[in-house]
Amino acid sequence: MRLLPWHKPHLLVRPNNLKLRKLNTMEYFIQQLINGLTLGGMYALIALGYTMVYGVIQLINFAHGEFFAAGGYVGAIALAYFAGIGYMDSHPIICLTASFMIAMAYCAYLAVGVEKIAYKPLRKNSRLAALLSALGMSIFLSNGMMLTQGVYDKVYPGELFQGRFDFGMVTISYLQIMIVSLTACLLVGLNLLVFKTKIGMAMRATAQDKTMSALVAIGSNKIISLTFAIGAGLAAAAGIMYGLYYGSVKYDMGFVPGIKAFAAAVLGGIGNITGAMIGGLIIGMVEIFGAGYISSEYKDVFAFIILIGVLYFKPNGIMGENIDDTRV
């Protein structure tokens, strides 16, 4: 029998003295909170892309979930390459950072290309045309990944961040810490970019009024491309985190998280960046708490019940402004 590097002798059955005490109510709650935060963070990163694009050109970019999947794939390929040339063991952090950079850059480029090919020619047509084009692009990209990468799960290499902390019975893995903190950094960075820089101001101006901002010399095409690029970059980051967290990626993985993130964007008020973050966290939390306290069978139902409930009382979402006629 060939022993793999990760083979370790395993205890057959736990000896009785190893039997740990059960989680108490508080620990159970905290554990689920951590699970929800990790999942919600990933949803938030994807939701931002939906909301930013909607904010600028009022398009629901249904191909956005595929940028997330593509990011996961590029990350897997980059990490496998680094592992192949032996850099992974000596410089894991550099390799991981580089993989994030490569995947985010690739997806940003992909998104700009998709916008140029599928949405820009339709910008003057009805919004329905662009929406259908987005659905078509989603199918095209997902099948493209299936044909080039195969139907099997692509395994994330290495043992990055596999350790964990135990606080009493509450477990936090390094990966969860990494995901939550990186998500927080990206969200803060995005907020700074949008609300504190000139580019951000130009983006907000374009979102408010394309014609007027063009009159004050803001190139709306450039801003739209940039919006797509940033949104896809964040989705790509979420894709790698997803791959690291769940151990593998697959060509159709963009669909379900894409729909959930879209729901998160709508919940938070589509077009509103803070709203998307809050919406993502709420959807993630509701899913985990619904599964953990009520029924894991119907966890998706709870997320959508919340969505319907909020939209019933506040049709523009939690943070949504009252959109006046001139903006729509």
Binding site: M1, R2, L3, L4, W6, H7, K8, H10, L11, L12, V13, R14, K19, L20, K22, L23, Y28, Q31, Q32, N35, T38, L39, M146, V151, Y152, D153, V155, E159, Q162, R164, D166, M169, T171, S173, L175, Y242, Y246, G247, S248, K250, M253, V256, E287, I288, F289, G290, A291, G292, S295, S296, E297, K299, D300
Partner: protein, 378 residues
């Protein structure tokens, strides 16, 4: 009038090539049904490859008397009952003599009823749900074992070998996984173990952290995972380990697939699963291994069962000397030989017996660990 007769005759000539081809290339058509796309594509591909390997071996050994060649039509069911029925209809239109498949019990059950209307022989290499052969369909056969044999064997293993007192069960609501989970629950209770929870997840779920936290709180001796396919099982195993859930994970035959260890990595070590016993020292198995591995890769899950199913079907057709389903069935019932995966001898209802034992994941292999009669192996 003469011109009209002539023109009809000339038009009739168009049909000549068809008559000709029907005489010239006499082919025997065999179909297979398994998921070739979607989450269970790897298991489905094993079934396709196993069937193809059996046809190749049979043709090399002289082929089917009276036929020039055997044509093979693999169909994709995607583990979707509707697609399975449409593949069955497609195979009926192709006029196949027999079908090897399907994989998911939820596909096999409806598609077998379609095939039964046309009296086409179906041998499933992988569907373990009891209903597959319990519906009294005359031409439905099964090469693998039954869940109502697997569940008691699993429960016996949990009690006798692992000494489990409490069990946490989870399934993904497919015909197969839920049927098996219910069976294990019943058998475990009968053996005096306590089932602390029986939870369900959905097909296609990736995040199991909530349910695993629930399992961690329950802190049962055994976490019994009944999922359709290796992929969700591997993800669940990985997440369980990361979450610090330290109940012993025990799972079932759908996870018997080396890719499970690729995805779950070191978290898969020491996991137990029940799967049919295959004597890997028989000359039949060695010959199959020598032939299959270089061409199709690692032997996984249901390749051997598909190979045996196709071999049995071809032997029976040869012995019957006809494609009449009644005669083929009579010959199938007479078969009594050592196949690759097991000894093949069909029973009246179409089953061929179960031989569930427990395997343990060690390194990248499933090592036989325990069997119901004599306990620990070696």
């Amino acid at each position: 009038m003469r011109r009209r007769v002539l023109s009809i005759m000339i038009m009739g000539l168009i049909l000549v090539p068809f008559l000709f081809s029907a005489v010239a290339a006499k082919t025997l058509k065999i179909g297979s049904m398994s998921p070739l796309t979607g989450p269970y594509a790897s298991d489905g591909t094993d079934i396709k490859n196993g069937t193809r390997a059996a046809i190749e071996v049979f043709e090399e050994a002289g082929g089917m008397p009276g036929y020039d060649k055997i044509e093979f039509f693999p169909q994709d069911t995607a583990c979707d009952p509707r697609q399975a029925v449409s593949s069955a209809n497609k195979l009926i239109n192709l006029e196949v003599v027999g079908v090897i498949g399907a994989y998911c019990s939820s596909s096999t059950i409806p598609s077998s009823e379609t095939l039964a209307e046309e009296d086409i022989i179906m041998i499933t290499p992988a569907s373990t749900n009891e209903k597959v052969t319990d519906r009294g369909l005359p031409y439905m056969f099964r090469m693998c074992g039954r869940d109502d044999d697997q569940a008691p064997a699993a429960a016996k293993f949990l009690k006798e070998s692992l000494g489990a007192k409490t069990i946490f069960i989870v399934d993904d609501k497919t015909t197969y996984s839920q049927g098996l989970a219910d069976g294990v629950k019943k058998a475990s209770i009968a053996l005096g173990m306590e089932v602390v929870a029986h939870e369900h997840v959905n097909q296609g779920d990736k995040d199991f952290s909530a349910i695993l936290t629930m399992a961690k709180r329950a802190n049962a001796d055994v976490f019994y995972m009944s999922l359709q396919g290796y992929s969700p099982a591997a993800m669940m195993t990985l997440q369980a380990k990361r979450l610090g859930m330290d109940s012993q994970i025990v799972t079932q035959d759908a996870v018997f697939q080396p890719k499970y260890m690729d995805v779950a990595k070191e978290a898969s070590q020491g996991v137990f699963l029940t799967y049919g016993f295959t004597d890997q020292t028989t000359p039949q198995y060695k010959a199959f291994e020598a032939r299959y591995v270089p061409k199709y890769g690692k032997i996984a899950a249901y390749a051997t069962y598909a190979y045996d199913s196709a071999t049995a079907l071809l032997y029976a057709i040869k012995a019957a000397g006809s494609t009449d389903p009644k005669m083929i069935k009579a010959e199938l019932m007479k078969l009594d030989f050592q196949g690759v995966a097991k000894h093949i001898k069909f029973r009246a209802n179409g089953d061929s017996g179960s031989s569930y034992i427990a395997y343990k994941v060690v390194g990248d292999k499933f090592v036989p660990y325990w069997e119901p009669v004599n306990g620990l192996i070696k």
